[in-house]
């Protein structure tokens, strides 16, 4: 990203009509333009060591999560499985040791990867839909709607989220969907602020005025002009939000708000901590899921930073 090219915004760069084979139609043109934009983006992303390192870690954990779907669930059930040694330290047979039922911590961690990632992703989708929806609405509408929406947003920004989450979990019960909803509904405010700022600057551009003069409806302006322009910002922010959502999930599970029957990295740590893994010296039981959380969050953060550098190219390089 040290080249001159890297400093131009992916959004604002004048786009020449890309070559299109056969008959030219608006859709073909758009497709070709999108393909070109993605190719250019990838070329920039590939130069970021940090982003690529993060991407590789993410691919590793995605494979792990997908493979867990096909794994033999019997190994996690202490009533079915023929148990291994109890609290065995890491060995060749049990690379990450075993827990207090003699279940391999490796199998637990693999199983946990699926639900931890699932919660992180779905919660982020909720947070993004809410945040960008409110941000676009507020930035586009202006006036009293903007003021009141931003008032609520600011209040949500400063709310102590975990205290609120505890209250919500105590009221609505403890399961995966409640956790997803809690994370989604407490993490959208930052996105809303960011998107609103972007919309405010996009809104003033002349092509939007032109579009309106031609009789475009609000919906058309927002969906065809505003949204594509704020999309890169939303996208970079999404990746950073996934990292925060996974961290949030682990904290909520550690406080015992998760479903005790479902394995996530957070619940493994919670169970180990409660079972006294510290005093038993069973460090592998605590550290294996912890390392997974740190690696995945780190990877999402690194990819997010790399994205951010491409989308908001200022002089800095992180």
């Amino acid at each position: 990203m040290k080249t001159e090219e890297g400093r131009t915004t992916a959004v604002d760069e004048p786009v020449l009509p890309p070559p299109v084979r056969g008959k030219i139609s608006p859709r073909k043109l758009r497709r070709a333009r999108q393909r070109k934009a993605i190719a250019r983006f990838w070329a920039q992303f590939r130069t970021s060591k940090m982003g690529m390192a993060g991407l590789i870690i993410l691919i590793f954990f995605s494979v792990m999560a997908i493979s867990s779907i096909f794994a033999d669930k019997g190994r996690l059930d202490p009533t079915i499985t023929t148990n291994g040694p109890i609290l065995a330290p890491p060995s060749l047979q049990y690379p990450l040791g075993t827990d207090d039922y003699g279940i391999s911590v490796l199998s637990l961690v693999v199983e946990g990867s699926r639900i931890s990632l699932f919660i992180g992703l779905v919660a982020t989708v909720i947070s993004m839909l809410l945040g960008s929806g409110i941000g676009i609405w507020s930035g586009y509408k202006a006036g009293i709607q903007d003021t009141s929406l931003m008032f609520v947003t600011d209040a949500f920004l400063v709310l102590p989220w975990l205290a609120l989450a505890i209250v919500l979990a105590a009221i609505f019960g403890q399961n995966v969907w409640v956790i997803i909803a809690i994370i989604g509904f407490t993490s959208w405010a930052g996105t809303a602020r960011l998107v609103r700022a972007q919309v405010l600057s996009v809104k003033e551009r002349t092509y939007i005025e032109r579009s309106r003069a031609l009789g475009a409806s609000d919906w058309h302006v927002v969906s065809r002009h505003v949204l594509p322009n704020v999309m890169p910002v939303i996208f970079a922010n999404t990746i950073l939000t996934i990292a925060i959502a996974i961290l949030s999930e682990s904290a909520l599970s550690f406080l015992g708000l998760g479903n005790p029957l479902q394995v996530t990295w957070g619940t493994i740590i919670e169970k180990a901590f409660r079972a006294g893994a510290l005093t038993l010296g069973a460090w592998w039981w605590l550290l294996a899921p912890s390392a997974c959380i740190v690696l995945v969050v780190l990877a999402f953060t690194m990819v997010g930073f790399a994205f951010d550098d491409i989308v908001n190219p200022r002089i800095r390089e992180r």
């Binding site: 400063v158 205290a163 904290a251």
Partner: protein
């Protein structure tokens, strides 16, 4: 007179947000499925006749309409710090007196660790941004990212494993030795020994974040034209940094630090649980486990108020750093 207007402006916003938090908490605890009296009695395992339930409901004002009677009563009670009575954690004790006892311990822990992490993180961020790509920067960049990615409780668990379990340097839990055997100065040392690991955990956990914020903000500023101009004028590098770059770079950092206070309080809850540190965080965990709603409501309110106050302080700092906002 501008600065007064700025302050008044902020105070008005603070009051509005406070009202929002109070109202949110009021309605949250009232959309709860089931009515609180029967729920409480079932939980307590007591048998009551319908008349007694009615009497209890009347006593707590729960037979009145939610709006405006219950709402007004709630606002009045909260304003006079009459927060009701704990149901299960400390049955029968008034919530405010429980808080009175616990709050000081949390406030000391949070303020000292937050101030330390801000100072260290920001100073390191300045150095890292100034000497970008240097050895110190690369090393602290890597460790900051890892610290940022690490949940606070995981850091706490690692410290417990190393310093308590393997090295045995620090006590594992609590606020002081029980039974309380020390007095005077020795007691202070004892308390500090107990507090050190949670303090270190919280300080390190947020240092990385502040480092990243300050560094990237400084890098933004260092690319500005007025920095080039200052250098072209022949201003010495030391003064370019001190007078032109850092002061401007601090502004966005202050804003972002203010936004992270809500997260810091979240971290405190898990860290207090890891170290069994008897503060408000541990109290909210206990209240959650016991489904003690009056205590839960109070922990939510108090942490929200704490975050709001911290934000007010951040606003004051901002006003001090940036003369422009005082006039708007």
């Amino acid at each position: 007179m501008g600065s007064q207007r700025f302050l008044v402006n902020r105070l008005i916003r603070l009051v509005f947000t406070l009202w929002f938090v109070l109202t949110l908490s009021f309605f949250l605890f009232r959309v709860m499925p089931g009515d609180p009296v029967t729920k409480f009695l079932r939980q307590a395992g007591a048998k009551y006749t319908p008349e007694q339930i009615e009497a209890l409901k009347h006593q707590f004002g729960l037979d009145q309409p939610i709006f405006p009677e219950q709402y007004v009563k709630y606002m009045k009670d909260t304003a006079t710090l009459n927060l009701g009575y704990s149901t299960f954690v400390y049955p029968g004790e008034s919530v405010s007196s429980i808080f009175w006892e616990r709050m000081g311990k949390s406030v000391i822990l949070i303020t000292t660790s937050t101030v330390a992490s801000i100072i260290i993180g920001v100073l390191m961020g300045i150095y890292g941004g100034w000497r970008r790509g240097g050895k110190v920067d690369t090393a602290s960049m890597g460790s900051s990212l890892v610290l940022y990615a690490m949940p606070e409780f995981v850091l706490g668990i690692i410290f417990l494993l190393i310093f308590t379990q393997w090295l045995g340097w620090f006590p594992a839990s609590g606020y002081e030795s029980i039974p309380q055997v020390h007095t005077g100065f020795n007691r202070l040392v004892d308390i500090m020994g107990h507090m050190f690991l949670p303090w270190l955990t919280l300080t390190l956990a947020y240092m990385g974040e502040f480092y990243l914020l300050m560094r990237s903000s400084l890098l933004d500023v260092l690319g500005e034209d007025y920095i080039t101009l200052a250098r072209a004028k022949g201003v010495r590098e030391k003064y370019v940094l001190r007078r032109h770059a850092v002061r401007n770079a601090l502004l966005p950092t202050v804003t972002l630090i203010a936004l992270s206070f809500g997260f810091i309080l979240g971290g405190v809850i898990t860290v207090e649980l890891v170290f069994s540190y008897p503060g408000v965080g541990l109290l909210s965990y206990q209240a959650l486990q016991a489904q003690d709603f009056p205590v839960l409501q109070a922990t939510f309110l108090f942490s929200a108020i704490g975050v709001l106050l911290a934000n007010l302080i951040a606003d004051l700092c901002y006003g001090y750093l940036d003369p422009r906002v005082r006039t708007t």
